[in-house]
């Protein structure tokens, strides 16, 4: 009997191994297609689109089929965890590509709604996928919902009743997921969809439709309030009376908002409504008033606030909204806050001098202080992703603000995370402000001295900025345990820094008639090269110490981040090469290429073989190198001296990428 059991166990093991190998093989195929698709259309986009139609379909079909397997409780255990992560990457690629319209162009047979349904199905499946909740919401859902919402928003006006019914079905399905994830934007959008529908029906509103509309509103309220109440009950308000009050208040608020919106659409006089809103907003005692005021009210109120109020009232209302905003941050609703900033504080609204910059600045600074307090309580995953994006966006609004002024108003900012961001924003500020500066000098100056002076000052500023940042990065590297989040911060910085440098380089037109100036500029460009080299190479190596590299296989995501950095580095170098074409600084650039190449090489030197899924970012890198290689061939053939090293680099990269044996 025991013998029989042993045979059965062995047979099962053999069978399971066969299935696993089979699945692994399919992942490899998917990965190969993924890399190839990234190549597709690079050299000749039109040709790529024509030829790519079927290719994309094949990729998506296979991806969907694999998802069917990976969501099955029986088969999910047969997948290697790395393969599951890889599948996620491929899916993300597909969604990302859709957003960029590339796959949309390829797959002409699929209309918007079909596309939404397709990804909706996968997203639903994905929810049951064996990933953690945080991974899911962090990485995946915003893209998914963003996609469908954008597509639907785009098409809403052109939909007939049948299409609207389809959309409603999709919404109901998505709503189930959204409820569980508290994806507010989706729910907000649903409200707007309802409003559009209601408006649409007004032309032929009979009693039946009116009843339907009311029922729909009731359902909507349930949908809308359900997740909020769950959230409140579980995390915030324990007292049931308060909970009921909260619900009542917000239902009222919701109805009021709808009425207001409809009046807006009907272009009725709004003076009274503004007063009513102010009174209403003041009367709301719930900490959640901000949640409801943002997405729904802001698009409605923004024109009212900006067009129908005097400056004093505007500032009051802004302050009131900022209070809500602070509350939102405290409630970890940073994504709402971000949207709020985006909607409300767009630059053009304030460019006419209606609200003084000073007032705006004071409000922002107040918020900085609030955020600093609130930030310490924010969960790490929000800090790292949403938070980072929020703060970067937030501080970018301060582009024109003097750094010293900020430091005076917000003490002890130095050597803190905020300091870093402010420096970053400040660096961007200076770089932005000097964009085109040399050209301007060149155009306007009557003598060469001015031009030299301008460039010299610019470079000096740059040196100072990057010196500050370098100091900060080193401090952080020494004192903070390096993590993925910090790497992302580094990545953001490097990306921005190099792009700024590229912008700057592009503004520097060489003046062939004046060799002296040219020589001076070139010497400054040497400095830029040094700075860039530091950012690209030194920072990389310091922020990716041996300890990090030794755990190369341990975390796929971190590896991806690293490759992103390498990709950015390459991108910067490429741009630099193009920029230096005229400057004839080929040798220095080639040195830089060599150093980056050696970083990549070092991955192999240390025996860190890469698996196929890890090759994905490098596939992109190779693509870019290939593109550049083309460019070298066709555009700057006169630079023979550089061509050979580039070819060598391509060869080296291919070797370093391809020589490891896939597991």
């Amino acid at each position: 009997m025991a013998k029989l059991e042993e045979v059965q166990v062995n047979s099962l093991r053999i069978l399971r191994d066969r299935v696993r190998k089979q699945l692994r093989s399919r992942i490899m195929n998917l990965h190969s297609m993924y890399i190839l698709l990234r190549f597709l259309g690079r050299g000749s986009p039109e040709q790529g689109i024509t030829n790519g139609e079927g290719s994309v379909k094949i990729f998506l079909d296979e991806l969907k089929d694999m998802f069917d397997l990976v969501i099955d409780d029986h088969t999910v255990v047969l997948f290697d965890i790395r393969d599951r992560v890889a599948l996620r990457s491929y899916f993300h690629f597909a969604v990302e590509s859709l957003e960029q319209n590339s796959l949309e162009q390829y797959d002409k047979k699929m209309n918007d709604l079909e596309r939404v349904r397709f990804f909706q199905n996968i997203a639903e499946d994905y929810f049951t996928f064996n990933y953690t909740f945080l991974e899911f919401i962090d990485f995946f859902m915003p893209t998914m919902f963003g996609l469908s919402v954008n597509i639907l928003e785009k098409n809403i006006e052109n939909m007939d009743e049948i299409e609207r019914m389809h959309v409603t079905e999709i919404l109901i399905k998505q709503n189930k997921i959204a409820e569980q994830l508290y994806i507010q934007r989706f729910l907000d959008w649903k409200i707007l969809f309802y409003l559009h529908n209601r408006q649409h029906r007004k032309t032929s509103m009979n009693l039946k439709l009116r009843e339907d509309s009311l029922k729909e509103l009731e359902e909507l309220q349930k949908d809308y309030m359900g997740p909020q109440i769950k959230y409140v009950n579980s995390t915030y308000i324990k007292d049931s009376k308060e909970s009921i009050e909260f619900q009542r208040n917000n239902l009222e608020f919701l109805e009021y908002t709808m009425d207001l919106h409809e009046k807006m659409l009907a272009k009725q006089p709004l003076d009274k409504e503004i007063a009513k809103f102010t009174k209403f907003a003041n009367s709301l005692q719930s900490a959640y008033r901000g949640v409801f005021s943002i997405t729904i009210l802001l698009p409605t109120l923004k024109p009212l606030l900006l067009q129908n109020m005097d400056n004093e009232t505007k500032v009051k209302v802004i302050e009131k909204l900022l209070e809500s905003y602070t509350e939102m941050i405290k409630e970890n609703l940073l994504h709402k806050a971000k949207e709020y900033i985006r909607i409300f504080f767009s630059r053009e609204d304030f460019s006419d001098g209606d609200v003084e910059d000073k007032v705006r600045l004071q409000l922002f600074l107040k918020e900085i202080q609030e955020i600093r307090i609130a930030y310490s309580a924010v969960p790490p995953f929000i800090k790292s992703y949403v938070g980072l994006a929020l703060f970067l966006e937030f501080f970018e609004k301060l582009l024109l603000v003097d750094l010293n002024y900020i430091e005076r108003l917000v003490p002890n900012l130095k050597n803190s995370f905020f300091s870093y961001l402010i420096y970053n924003a400040h660096a961007i500020s200076i770089l932005s402000s000097i964009e085109g500066h040399p050209k301007k000098i060149q155009r306007n100056s009557s003598n060469t001295k001015d031009m030299y002076s301008g460039i010299s000052d610019t470079v000096k500023q740059l040196e100072q900025i990057y010196d500050q940042i370098r100091g900060f990065v080193l401090t952080v590297s020494a004192s903070v345990e390096l993590s993925l989040h910090w790497n992302i911060v580094e990545y953001e910085f490097v990306n921005r820094g190099t792009n700024d440098l590229i912008t700057l380089l592009n503004t520097w037109e060489m003046n062939d008639t004046n060799l002296k100036i040219q020589k001076s500029v070139l010497s400054k460009l040497d400095t830029i090269i040094e700075i860039t080299e530091y950012i690209l190479c030194d920072t990389f190596l310091k922020t990716f110490p041996a300890k990090y590299l030794s755990s190369f296989h341990s975390d796929m995501t971190e590896n991806l981040t690293f490759f992103k950095l390498v990709s950015v580095a390459y991108h910067a170098v490429r741009e630099l090469i193009l920029g230096y074409n005229k400057a004839r600084q080929g040798v220095a650039v080639v040195d830089l290429i060599d150093r980056i190449s050696s970083i990549i090489q070092s991955l192999n030197v240390e025996g860190k073989e890469m698996s196929k899924p890890q090759l994905a970012p490098l596939g992109k890198l190779i693509t870019e190198i290939s593109e550049y290689s083309n460019h070298i061939q066709y555009s700057i053939s006169e630079l023979d001296v550089m061509e050979q090293p580039i070819r060598q680099l391509v060869s080296k990269l291919l070797d370093s990428v391809l020589s490891p044996i896939p597991h």
């Binding site: 195929n29 890399i35 190549f39 050299g43 000749s44 790519g52 079909d61 291919l654």
Partner: protein
């Protein structure tokens, strides 16, 4: 050991590299080749799908 239907990425990329190195209209040629390769993949993945289902059926029956 490579899976039966696996198309070697290394070979594909080598081919891409050789194309890039040639003085031809590389972009167009690459796109054509890539599309052709992926179309071939279509056949491969179909076959793999059938094989997977068969294996999974066997596996499910067994457990």
């Amino acid at each position: 050991m490579r899976p039966p239907y696996f198309i070697d990425l290394y070979e594909i990329l080598q081919e891409m590299e050789s194309l890039i190195m040639k003085d031809t209209d590389v972009g167009e040629v690459i796109n054509e080749r890539i599309s052709a390769i992926i179309i071939n993949f279509g056949e491969v993945v179909k076959a793999e799908r059938i094989l997977t289902r068969r294996l999974l059926q066997e596996y499910t029956n067994f457990i």
